[in-house]
């Protein structure tokens, strides 16, 4: 259970690697440096600029939602036969981004990858904010969300109606709401000891009270830590199958239907890999500027960036395999509609987007084979942006090309988004960054108590205990 013990093996294996924490840090210096970002340091001017800009873009989202509720979903471009368009594209995109946070905090914890420690808090916050953006789309897609509750959640109502549990869309409701709840619990549990640190270090009375309430009276008792560590590991063990199930169920929204290009068994693993791929791209997009502007190079080292680059390369290859298998099964099925679907993707009206997607997701990430690229923050940052765009295009292609020309030629049509589709999508990006800026300002962005376990002094010397 003690996460300190494997540090030596790790050093032996990666003798040439950059360290997970720069040498010379002590319990005190780690605590002071991270808590000072919240408590001591003057809020940088860049924070105000970034927050204001994000908040303005989030304001655009609010205006779009207001107009949407007044006018109805007709303000969007989706219409028969493309009934699912930006809503589901953006929903899947955001949910996928969230998955890296859970992967870093849960799966890498179980695999004893101690380099995760300095990025897990941040990545978990990203998960929560991405899920918040994601749920907005299906909810508003219902048109009048306040009337949709009875077919989303099972509660006794005057109509005597229940949701349809045989539908993948309902599985999705349960998967995403469980995912959001468990991520929030996991995040909060991780924050409790750090809230106690902020409570004890805050000089301002208001902060002392607020952090004190959030810390729940945590005092670092050895008896408490034993239960805390057991809980943390169990939560990680629960979050691991959960995160895999969430994107599996998201892919069921497509795979359980019979639409050409969707009805494929490759979908669950391919969606999960794509989610992790997009998520790590977003973690890189956010941490590279963050470590630069907040001087966190000691804690988020090149080792972290390099490892994330490697994970992106691995998941990118799985995704590329998925694209190949889509084409292969379409051909091998000898089914007219499947064959037409893939040819339409490659040569039809949306072909430029398909090839852009292949370029962004399958070609560009091959640069990560090079060690020089993996060690260059600029290159990693640019690749991560390209992958984020690529993953969005992937969902666009899956959604739109399959729906716009399916079985019946007479019902073929083209889809294009309206200005409100774009303001809504860009608006959620604004909301995401607004929440992220608030998080950076008011909460410890790196898990302080877990960073202490990485300090060399943290190791208990058995021979001295017995002496």
């Amino acid at each position: 259970m003690q996460r300190v013990t494997n540090s030596h093996d790790d050093v032996a294996i990666h003798r040439t690697s950059p360290p997970v924490i720069e040498p010379g840090h002590t319990f005190g210096s780690v605590t002071d440096k991270i808590s000072a970002l919240t408590l001591r340091r003057r809020t940088p001017i860049g924070w105000y600029l970034g927050f204001t800009l994000s908040f303005m873009v989030a304001g655009m989202l609010m205006m779009t939602i207001l107009y949407l509720l007044l006018k109805g979903v007709g303000i969007w471009g989706n219409n028969v036969p493309v009934g699912w368009a930006f809503d589901i594209i953006n929903f899947v995109w955001w949910i996928g981004i969230g998955h890296a946070g859970t992967l870093i905090s849960a799966i890498l914890l179980l695999l004893r990858q101690e380099w995760r420690t300095s990025i897990n808090r941040f990545a978990e916050a990203m998960t929560l904010f991405a899920v918040s953006c994601a749920v907005m789309f299906p909810l508003l897609h219902t048109g009048r969300p306040w009337l949709a509750a009875y077919w989303l959640f099972p509660y006794p109502n005057t109509m005597g109606m229940w949701p349809q549990f045989r539908s993948p869309l309902l599985w999705d409701v349960f998967a995403v709401s469980t995912y959001g709840s468990v991520s929030a619990l996991f995040w909060y549990v991780g924050l409790i000891p750090d809230f106690a640190t902020l409570r004890d270090r805050a000089k301002n009375r208001v902060f002392q009270i607020i952090y004190g309430m959030l810390a729940l009276g945590w005092r670092g008792s050895a008896r408490h830590w034993a239960r805390y560590e057991a809980t943390y590991l169990l939560l990680a063990g629960l979050a691991t199958p959960l995160v895999l199930s969430v994107h599996t169920i998201v892919s069921f929204d497509f795979a359980v239907s019979q639409v050409p290009g969707w009805h494929a068994t490759i979908f669950p693993p391919y969606f999960v890999a794509g989610a992790i791929y997009a998520g790590f791209a977003m973690v890189l997009t956010l941490t590279i500027p963050l470590r630069y502007f907040y001087g966190l190079e000691d804690f988020i080292t090149l080792r972290h960036l390099r490892n994330m680059g490697k994970i992106m390369l691995a998941t990118g290859l799985i995704v590329a395999y998925g694209y190949m298998m889509e084409a292969f099964t379409a051909w091998y099925s000898a089914n007219t509609y499947e064959e037409y679907m893939i040819l339409n993707r490659m040569r039809g009206p949306y072909a430029p987007y398909y090839w852009a997607l292949i370029f962004c997701n399958a070609v560009v990430p091959q640069l990560l084979w090079s060690k020089r690229v993996r060690h260059s923050t600029v290159a990693l940052f640019l690749i991560s942006l390209v992958v984020s765009v690529g993953m969005w295009l992937e969902r666009f292609i899956i959604l739109v090309t399959s729906l716009h020309r399916d079985f019946l030629v007479s019902s073929w049509a083209m889809y294009s988004p309206t200005v409100f589709d774009w303001t809504m999508f860009i608006g959620t990006i604004g909301l995401f960054f607004t929440l992220l800026f608030l998080f950076i300002r008011f909460l410890p962005i790196i898990s302080i108590f877990e960073m202490r376990t990485l300090v060399p002094q943290a190791e208990i010397k058995e021979e001295k205990v017995k002496a």
Partner: protein
């Protein structure tokens, strides 16, 4: 039986700089026969929890029960909805079409287990607890930074103020102090 009188102090607190020292001291205190003891550290130290006498927790059992209740509740809810209360023929599937009930059952299993884990941990730890006597110990604010503390409660049967204080001082702490209620 004599009516218990509230002791003058909550206990004695020894303060250490080094994790190895506090673990060694905690083991000696336990060996000396003290049982109402606790230690405080800025990060989890498994050896320290063991030294104060915690060898296993009830957390796995609580999480198991939470998971079973969540999963069972989830499945029975779907059974009730689709078989008993509102049977609806969808594509000729049987009312009790169990394969399509699995995803929601799975999600609710996880939800039940996770909720039980977090609230079970908080309940067993007695949190939230805004006031606790140990916060009165000098320098205790450093327990969330870089200091390690070892407490012997005055309610311990072996507790004798002067003797216990001398014993704690022999373990090499920075300081030994009384903890007010």
């Amino acid at each position: 039986m004599k009516k218990s009188i509230r002791p003058a102090t909550y206990g004695l607190m020894a303060e250490f700089d080094d994790p190895t020292a506090v673990v060694a001291a905690a083991e000696k205190v336990y060996e000396a026969g003290y049982r109402r003891i606790d230690a405080f550290s800025p990060y989890p130290i498994e050896a320290l929890s063991e030294a104060v006498g915690v060898h296993s927790t009830k957390m796995p059992l609580i999480v198991l029960i939470g998971g079973i209740l969540g999963g069972l509740g989830g499945y029975l809810m779907q059974y009730y909805v689709h078989v008993i209360d509102y049977p609806l023929n969808v594509g000729g599937k049987p009312f009790h079409s169990w394969p399509s009930f699995i995803p929601v059952t799975f999600e609710l299993t996880i939800l039940g287990a996770a909720v039980a884990a977090v609230f079970g941990m908080l309940a067993l730890n007695g949190l939230p607890e805004p006031y606790h006597p140990v916060f009165n110990a000098p320098n205790f604010a450093l327990a969330s930074r870089d200091r390690f503390f070892l407490l012997i409660e005055s309610l311990d049967p072996k507790f004798d103020h002067d003797e216990t204080a001398n014993f704690l001082k022999s373990l090499g702490p920075r300081e030994v102090t009384d903890v007010e209620h």
